[in-house]
């Protein structure tokens, strides 16, 4: 009997609380709870990072040989001195392709690792170790005159670290300018279960979360996913032999969650676990090192930028305004 009474009291309390909420009491608390629930239950956004800029060097570790083939109209083999025409250079998986732009306006394309070369639609020649080609506009016999577009497909390292000029006169080839845009993809579910598809919600819509310039002399080293694995880039770089400026104009994008950037004045301290790939973090954790700066999308940018979340805010605010109005009206 007592228990029944207690249960009855509780029911009355709950119904009073609901009435209070309906009247507008505890309104801010309820709103706060809904927002906290929303924030907790939103999964981390899937992101896309894009970069456009001018760089004097790019290294590409090939992750898909078919998409890394370089087509060049003409180039000179740096080791044999031969002038080659109508070149198809195919690096193998895990080889590294370098595009180096000299300050005199030349472009060097080299492959560290196995590759194959086809010249003038002739037989394919395999290179086991490396190949080095140069396109020098000042080379009267073997210089290109038309702009060349080359692929940037694979794991990229953009820009070289700064060092003093060497005894041989070698200077660092740097990232001259770069602008990074971080895009988020709209949330699709709340609590990983409740779908936000249909009606006012948009599936797979991109929103710009942040945009910033990268200082000249920086080195963009890793694009990583949440499991700290390398993520490939997709893009292209243009070489214009008619321009006097050194460097190629690059445009590339990746579905990475984080981007590691070594600034010319890098942060010193503990190695950032988040920004280093799993295979490297162990080898460098034993020694202090220069930690990269890490760029990724943060919760604030997601909450402010996600179009689906914005619709939920509008829905909440409309509901809250309605409740306040009804409560105010009933009290009157």
């Amino acid at each position: 009997m007592r228990r029944l009474k207690k249960f009855g009291h509780r029911l009355v309390t709950v119904s009073r609380s609901l009435k209070d909420i309906m009247r507008g009491r505890y309104f801010s608390l309820t709103l706060l709870l809904i927002i906290v629930f929303l924030v907790i239950s939103i999964p981390s956004p899937r992101t896309m990072i894009s970069i456009k800029g001018v760089t004097e060097t790019v290294a590409i570790r090939v992750s898909n040989p078919f998409s890394a083939t370089v087509k060049l109209p003409v180039a000179r083999d740096m080791d044999t001195g031969r002038c080659l025409e109508d070149i198809l250079l195919s690096p193998k998986l895990d080889s590294t392709v370098y595009y180096d732009f000299t300050r005199t306006g030349a472009l060097a394309v080299s492959v560290d690792g196995p590759s194959s070369l086809r010249v003038d639609m002739g037989a394919v020649v395999a290179y086991e170790n490396y190949i080095r080609l140069i396109i020098d506009p000042s080379d009267a016999e073997c210089g290109a005159s038309e702009p060349i577009r080359m692929p940037l497909n694979g794991h990229l390292q953009i820009g070289d670290q700064l060092f003093n000029q060497t005894a041989q006169g070698e200077t660092p080839r740097v990232l001259k300018s770069g602008e990074v845009s971080v895009f988020g993809r709209s949330s699709q579910r709340i609590m990983y279960i409740v779908p936000m598809i249909g009606g006012p919600f948009e599936a797979n819509s991109l929103y710009l979360a942040s945009q910033f310039s990268i200082p000249a002399g920086s080195q963009i080293s890793y694009a990583l996913d949440r499991q700290r694995n390398f993520v490939p880039w997709w893009g292209f770089i243009d070489f214009d032999p008619n321009t006097q400026q050194s460097g190629g104009v690059m445009n590339a994008a990746t579905n990475a969650d984080a981007l590691a950037v070594f600034a010319p004045t890098p942060m010193v301290g503990d190695v950032s676990k988040h920004c280093l790939p799993a295979e490297l973090s162990l080898s460098v954790r034993s020694a202090p090192s220069l930690s990269p700066d890490c760029f990724s999308i943060d919760l604030a940018a997601q909450l402010a930028g996600d179009p689906n979340l914005r619709k939920i805010y509008i829905f909440l605010l409309t509901g809250a305004a309605l409740v306040t109005f009804i409560g105010y009206w009933r009290l009157k």
């Binding site: 290294a59 080299s110 080095r132 390292q157 080195q219 070594f262 490297l280 020694a287 090192s289 220069l290």
Partner: protein, 242 residues
């Protein structure tokens, strides 16, 4: 009377201080590589374009303990002084100084005037991330006659580690030709693609394979991404001569 007493006390104090200074002053011993070594540990990296960054005798194992660092002296008959240069791979720590060499050849501890300033900070580095050498130059600039000698952390092995700054070259090859004309090649390994500012390639060579391992000529061949292949030669003292 009081003034005389004060003067006596002052003189006594001065004598005591002098005695203390004499007692505590670190005297260079005949079996030490001793000199004023400038050290700095900064929060920015010092990057040089030098190709040869370090020579280390003994397989690099464990952490760097500067109080156990020693140098191979094999050119003391010609030179009384040498230049000691060392750095960590990330370029944060650098050390340089002119040191006095003992009159005899051998492996001797390197002792700075005063004490090592960044002993504890450098202790965090593994020996593989540390490079240095002695060179027979009082200006710390090398020419074609300059001799180089390795440092050591006391490991008893005949492994020679050569730290090279290849600036991400396509290929690095190192070899040593001894006084008999025999050449032994080193195996070179490029560091993982983490930012490495002072050196990016480590070559190792077992000196047991060198027939006359006292002195040799180190050849570093680099295939850069642009330009002709680079060949650099260094005179090196490997094991101290009798």
């Amino acid at each position: 009377m009081q003034q005389i007493k004060n003067k006596r006390l002052t003189i006594l104090a001065a004598l005591l201080y002098l005695f203390y200074v004499m007692l505590t002053a670190v005297k260079p011993k005949a079996e030490e590589i001793y000199g004023q070594i400038q050290e700095q540990f900064t929060d920015y990296s010092n990057v040089s374009g030098t190709t040869l960054v370090g020579l280390q005798l003994g397989a690099p194992e464990g952490k760097v303990n500067l109080s156990k660092i020693s140098g191979v002296v094999g050119f003391s008959n010609t030179y009384k002084k040498a230049c000691y240069i060392a750095s960590t791979q990330d370029g944060l720590y650098t050390a340089e100084g002119i040191v006095n060499l003992p009159p005899q050849n051998g492996i001797f501890p390197i002792v700075p005037e005063g004490a090592w300033r960044h002993l504890s900070k450098v202790k965090a580095y593994s020996q593989l991330n540390f490079a240095g050498f002695l060179m027979s130059s009082e200006s710390c600039f090398a020419d074609s006659d300059t001799e180089f000698a390795p440092i050591s952390f006391g490991a008893e092995s005949s492994i020679l580690t050569i730290s090279v700054n290849s600036r991400r070259a396509l290929r690095v090859h190192a070899s040593i030709t001894d006084t008999d004309g025999d050449t032994v090649s080193a195996s070179c390994l490029q560091a993982p693609p983490i930012r490495s500012v002072a050196f990016d390639t480590i070559c190792t060579l077992d000196l047991v394979k060198v027939q006359a391992p006292q002195r040799g000529r180190l050849k570093i061949e680099i295939i850069p991404r642009i330009g002709p292949p680079l060949n650099e030669f260094y005179h090196v003292t490997l094991f101290p001569q009798g």
